[in-house]
Subunit: 259 residues, 2 copies
Amino acid sequence: MSSHYSVEAAEGFRGQERTIGDGEHDVFARRLNALYPLQPQESKILESLVETVYTVAPHQDILREQQPSKEALVLLEGLACHYKVLDSARRQMTGFVVPGDLCDYGFLSSSVTRQSVLSLGQVVVGRIDLRQLSAAADKMPNILVAMMRAAAIDQSCGRELIISLGARDALQRLAHFLCELFYRLRTVGLVAASNQFELSMTQAELGEALGLSTVHINRTIQQLRKRKLISMGQGMVTILDPAGLEAIASFDGRYLRSN
Amino acid sequence: MSSHYSVEAAEGFRGQERTIGDGEHDVFARRLNALYPLQPQESKILESLVETVYTVAPHQDILREQQPSKEALVLLEGLACHYKVLDSARRQMTGFVVPGDLCDYGFLSSSVTRQSVLSLGQVVVGRIDLRQLSAAADKMPNILVAMMRAAAIDQSCGRELIISLGARDALQRLAHFLCELFYRLRTVGLVAASNQFELSMTQAELGEALGLSTVHINRTIQQLRKRKLISMGQGMVTILDPAGLEAIASFDGRYLRSN
DNA sequence: CGTGAGCTTGATGAGGGTCAAAATAGGTGG
DNA sequence: CCACCTATTTTGACCCTCATCAAGCTCACG
């Protein structure tokens, strides 16, 4: 476990901002549409709300705790996580953000950001102006409902993580984590036909997510490999036996659906 | 750990419903008002929204998973918790509901209830008709914002529980739990000047909340007693040394505030 | 080709689980 | 008010999962 987490300014590591082309990043609209059926025009507006995108290098803060949110951020590519630092030597991740998710739902209640958000691999983020969003939402309230559903699912994920940490052993935890990610990434089309997807996390980071030591994460991965349930390496995971993995985790993906 | 959880119909155990008098239960309005300043008239409306109240006996489901919500429920007295049953022998609590809180925020996104809610001691619940609520919210959007802030805080509590389960040892967990409850109950005026408050949970239930065995909960309580930080018994807790307890837990109550 | 980040392996021990039983506390009917 | 019964708390003994420490290994990268 590394002894210190850097606190450089998030700003310094943002890639160049740019305006985006039409339909270049439609994950967001597709995702919300799946959560709550939107009219074609509503989807259109939604896409147009994401005006600028930028790239963030791995291991940088995308959002910092206690900052008032002047904009909403959508993750368009890559993987990010919520976390909190305990005693500058220990860090606990509290949730994950996959493409199509909003990084933080605090803007819904116009409160400050309550947790820092960190890029795990390289990440592309879209920026939504809150003024424009609320204007759009006034005309098309479905947009807000869809976002609140996304927030509700985000919370369900949190509850499920509580269950993992409170009541599942290492093997079940890891299996459940992989099942969830598999499911979530699949719904936004980021899993290959071979059941392979990108997972740019070190084993140490997995430990911070699942409340386990790096060493034990390593041994647990080996368990799953030995049982021919997964294969893992170079930032890629392949689920070899989805049913088997779900069985170990008692995974039931209903909490990830909006209805 | 008991081997089976009963699944009787929640309906059968509801006390008689009745309409309530003016200002009889103002925790809810006071709470929301503290989260987001409301106009006097808005507070008034809020109180009038709670039309009927009913009593629920200890250890009964107030809300059942997967039910579509036709109404919003406010806790007015007592203590309740969210939970999920794993393998019919193990149960994990995922959150707590204190007076003034809504039992579930699913109605905000008109989705189904995602977790069961259980009364711990005897409980008084208020019922809010969603149709009336949304009518009121149309006229006075602040009401909705206040509720969303409450939801945001609910989520913060969840995140903090994740941190407890993932990164704190037994003593810290219990201390943190007590600090949170102390703080939350105090803001709704349910802590006596002697720092005493009601806690109608068995040690087994505390274990289900904090991911520890009953035996270990017991020993951990004794630790806190020995250190003269708390005294506990007969459903009552007294915080003898708030500062000392917070120090052990590294408790920082900011996550419980709306701003 | 050296260097550091990440992965793997081994050895050791602590925190907390499990089992079992005793001690208390509540709750009920006689 | 007492006797009984059950739920809860407490204690002791033992064991297992997982943390910690330490070292060696692999591999990408400058």
